[in-house]
Amino acid sequence: MTDTTLRTVVRRETHSPRTGAMLTVVILLLLALVYAGIEIVLALTGQSPLLIAPGPALQATVDAPDALAPAALYVIGAGLVIVGVIVLVLALKPGRLSRHEMTWGERAVVVDNGVVASALAQHLSTESGIARDDIVVGVAHRSVDITVRPPLGVPVDQAQLRRIVEQEIAGYELVPAVRTHLSVRRPEDKEAR
């Protein structure tokens, strides 16, 4: 796909816009601003404050290191830093959604990982003869984890299963490409734990 507009669409549809986090922050800021505004207006009109007037509030802030116990300062300071780091991570991390781009000529195609997982499981079941319920597939950003739990006494060729899965995944032409991790677990493995 060479079209820059469609490239933008794919980028947007595979990454979180962080709207929820931004709205949460903005609403909290708005509440703080509205409260500050009300307190200032009350102070200017000579009425009693809702909680604390602006002057005494700032004085209390100046005196906080003396007024509060060191433990309280640690807790408040560490709390603010932790929340700040979480917000910073939200601001800087790419925020990938659980979707993959599928290469499809000049069309932009984005597929939910859940669709890929269920299709892969069904394909493997059809091709191998293993019941669909005995196959569990998880699709992550760069890997596909497949767990097969064949019934007792049913022989399973792991290399053959891997080949089936890899051929199917290759057909999807996912971007970014995914690695396949396949494990076969016999019922006795589960009981042995």
């Binding site: 507009t5 599928m102 499981a121």
Partner: protein, 195 residues
């Protein structure tokens, strides 16, 4: 497709995070470092001078006006983020043929595609919209297939429909196809387990 200003969202988050980390760091420094208390006092006293001015009536109303402006800016930003989806109607299109000029209206084209998709057994729901990205219109075909359906098979069919539409209208559309899983797909599956 949406046109949310992602850079702006992240910029706001970045500014707030820096303010939180700076305030928290200053509080920790006040408790931990010998000179921390002086740093706290010098920073907060600067604000105090400003707030004391609020005691004077003109400065106080100025502060209220500044808060109101800031609040309006925040509301505008929040509204822009919520209203990020930018719909753009499909243009009516015409093409010349031996039979004459064919004009396909937007509603007809999207309805026809939606109906064609709805007839497929493996497709649970389909939605055709057109949006604007970078001032270019893009056709969006969102499909929710039944669970265990190959996405390749779904996309192949949608691609054929879009190709047919392009042939009919004489106009190649920028197309974005999204294939979704979801509660409906999970509930509609036969008797298989979700992975």
């Amino acid at each position: 497709m949406n046109a949310t200003r992602r850079g702006l969202n992240r910029f706001i988050l970045f500014i707030v995070s820096v303010a939180l980390i700076a305030t928290g760091g200053l509080l920790l420094a006040t408790a931990l470092l010998p000179g921390g208390r002086d740093a706290w006092t010098s920073v907060v006293v600067g604000f105090q001078g400003w707030l004391v001015g609020i005691g004077r009536e003109s400065a106080g109303w100025g502060a209220v006006a500044a808060i109101a402006v800031l609040a309006i800016v925040l509301i505008v930003l929040a509204a822009a983020a919520v209203r990020g989806r930018r719909e753009a109607p499909l243009q009516s299109a015409g093409s010349e043929s031996t039979a004459g000029r064919i004009t396909i209206t937007d509603g007809f084209a999207s309805q026809a595609m939606q109906n064609a998709l709805g007839e497929r057994d493996e497709i649970l729901s389909a939605r055709i919209t057109s949006g604007e990205v970078d001032k270019e219109s893009v056709l969006h075909v969102a499909v929710t297939p039944r669970q265990n359906t190959s996405p390749r098979q779904v996309v192949e069919y949608v691609d054929t429909l879009v190709g047919n539409l392009a042939t009919l209208t004489g106009r190649e559309l920028r197309t974005y196809i999204s294939v979704h899983s979801g509660l409906r797909a999970k509930l509609a599956r036969d008797n298989t387990r979700l992975n």
